[in-house]
């Protein structure tokens, strides 16, 4: 069992932290968002040069073949610095491509790792409410190929991506994963910023005609790949949340020690001390389950551990986010202080990849069959 980063992982994390500090100060981030400049191609290239985009890929795929905690370390720094570039969703999408048996899919990995190509995994739907197996997207045979219809919601990094991985059900009821070019005719993108400033899009597929080779995984393999991608998404999201939460604790602690009311620092008020202690407890519970889930990746327990982690993420992200705002008083409600930006990022994470109730339901079902 391991519950912390190795020396090498820490060293890598430190180098990335410096990069983030240099490129993502809060004012610059605000100005970028004002201009809706959510993706900076130059930063993306630099991240690729730092090796950030190739960590969890085999050397044959062009990657660095490093353990998953390296990606978690990246995620933490992304959370701490509120990085807008979609490193995490693109990396998880890339890992799905790498895990498929499709040579077509794998052929994009080199470009993904070098930063020339982005891929978006589009599986969330309005009515699926977190369940990746509940898709309304349909795939019907036509001639030698297929026709895709349906909608995806809040596909991360879709606006910047050249390729989409899309889940759909065929007429036999089997899940299929498809790889399509973003420019393929019949696809409409509705791009927007999420509440936290990250970029996403709703995708609509209107009689999109695809060759048979567009399918990169079918039936049980498609389900397994998708579930693994979601488990991995949850783990990196939780690591990102930990980065954000740790930073919120630092900011809040500093504020409580310096802000004075009634002639003394807020930190002197016992009710606020207790509140801060509860925030720390929420953070540590999430950190523990993060490492627990990280250790289960690739095992039979992966889905259960990820579900537990997402439940805790929902609780910790909400509590720490809300209380950080509360303890700042009026200034916490503004866009001018970064506290609100962390709160919004944490709130969005609560809603993505299935909410707490969905994962509790899943855990309850797992308990029934075990």
């Amino acid at each position: 069992m391991f519950y912390q980063y190795s020396e090498d992982q820490n060293a890598f994390r430190d180098s990335l932290r410096r990069f983030v500090q240099d490129h993502y100060d809060y004012e610059t981030r605000r100005q970028r968002l004002e201009k809706s400049e959510v993706f900076n191609a130059d930063y993306w290239r630099q991240l690729a040069e730092l090796g950030v985009l190739g960590l969890p890929f085999s050397e044959t795929d062009g990657g660095l073949d490093l353990d998953f905690p390296y990606l978690m370390a990246v995620a933490e720094e992304i959370g701490r610095g509120l990085v807008l570039e979609p490193v995490l969703p693109v990396t998880v999408a890339g890992r799905l491509l790498a895990a498929s048996n499709s040579s077509d899919a794998k052929s994009h990995l080199a470009a993904l790792i070098s930063g020339e190509c982005l891929v978006s995994l589009a599986w969330e739907e309005s009515s699926s409410r977190g369940n990746p197996l509940l898709t309304q997207c349909t795939l019907v045979t036509r001639g030698d190929g297929y026709v895709l219809n349906g909608k995806k919601q809040a596909a991360l990094a879709a606006a910047e991506s050249q390729f989409y991985i899309v889940s759909a059900r065929d007429s036999g009821g089997d899940l299929q994963l498809l790889l399509l070019n973003a420019k393929h005719s019949g696809i409409t993108q509705r791009c927007y910023l999420l509440a936290d400033g990250n970029s996403a899009a709703d995708l609509e597929f209107n009689n999109v005609e695809l060759p048979a080779s567009a399918i990169i995984a079918s039936a049980s393999q498609a389900e397994a790949l998708l579930q693994t991608a979601i488990s991995e998404s949850i783990v990196v999201m939780a690591a990102e949340a930990i980065g954000a939460i740790d930073q919120l604790l630092v900011i809040t602690q500093e504020y409580l020690l310096t802000r004075k009311q009634f002639g003394m620092p807020l930190a002197m008020f016992q009710s606020l001390q207790h509140r801060f202690a509860d925030m720390v407890i929420a953070a540590e519970k999430l950190r523990s389950l993060l490492w627990a889930a990280c250790q289960q990746l690739g095992s039979d327990n992966q889905e259960k551990a990820a579900a537990q982690l997402k439940v805790q993420l929902g609780e910790s992200a909400r509590y720490v986010g809300q209380q950080a705002v509360q303890l700042h008083g009026g200034i916490g409600m503004t866009d001018e202080l970064n506290v609100g930006a962390y709160f919004k990022r944490l709130t969005v994470m609560e809603l993505l990849c299935g909410q707490q109730d969905y994962h509790l339901g899943k855990l309850a079902e797992l308990a029934l069959v075990s």
Binding site: A154, Y192, G263, V325, G329, D357
Partner: protein, 400 residues
Amino acid sequence: MMSNQLSELDTFRREVRDFLESAATDEIREAGRKTTSVFAPFKQAMAWQKILYNKGWVAPAWPVEYGGTGWTIHQRYIFVEECNRLELPPVLPQNIQMVGPAVIGFGSEEQKAKYLPGMLSGDDFWCQGYSEPGAGSDLASLKCRADSDGDDYILNGSKTWTTYGHHANKMFALVRTSSEGKPQQGISFLLLDMNTPGIEVRPIIGLDGEPEQCEVFFTDARVPKANRIGEENKGWSVAKYVLEFERGGSTFGAWLTPAFERLRARCQQSNESGVRLIDDVSVARKLAKLEVDISAVEHTEKRVNANLKHGENPGPMASLLKILGSEVMQQYSELQLEISGVDALAQQHSALHVESGIAAIGSEADMLAMPYYLNTRAASIYAGSNEVQRSLLAKAVMGA
């Protein structure tokens, strides 16, 4: 309640409903629906205030001789319920609930004649200049100086979190006129024109990306002493009087109940895949629990009101109601966000603006869920933070 009383109230409710339905324009209703904080969109809130003013219903809690309606506390509650049932924009509280009572209680006859009509009609909008960067919960430590100079005060300092300061033509402010004695003793209550030379307003962008609060800076701004309400250095008593003016005016339940009914109705509709959220037992149970909490708010408010003797003030129950009401409102905002789920994620600034003519990406309710959730975090911060209210309640109840 006795049955004949009930039917009288029912008649009253019908009368109110009929008027509201006929008087609210589409634009006002859109603004009501798109109200994502306690402060409705400015322009339409003022237009609605004017309509209520013309009807004579704008200030139900004011004494009749100053323009009040003479309604009982139960009628006032019904009025708020009916306004919320139709999702109308609430009248902004500053004129009617804050500065008006101060002038009624402490103003000279001349001041009353000069200021009250514009407050009621909405021809003036008054912003509240209490908080300062260094004086929030500890309001009495405020520093904005008003130095005596003949018949005038000269103001230097700043105010912050001034809601709609950028829309206001007037401000009521607490300023420091003396630094002797206890901090509360050197404060005066001043009325001023926002176009006074030496006043500068800077809007602050909120969590939802919209300006709502402002910073206001004073540099040698000259305000006539005749604009002071009450005696010099006695402004703290004026401010305290305002807080107690409404006596049982808490109406969180009147807002929450109709809002909850709309939320439940949404969950009873089938989504694209023919699924009703209410059939999900975890959603149904959460709705049920929220309904219990809202009932507790509503009946606590009504119980407090029913037990108030005329003119009495609810004492520590006011703190209790503020904590309870604001926190259940926050729970409501959380459940609403959970119900919208990923559909609540898109930022939609333009579509949120009244009369933008831009359709929401999904449903209007989904578009509103996130800004409402974010803004409702303020409910435990303003009007006496819930930490401060808990201390007051504990002190009053424990007597320690």
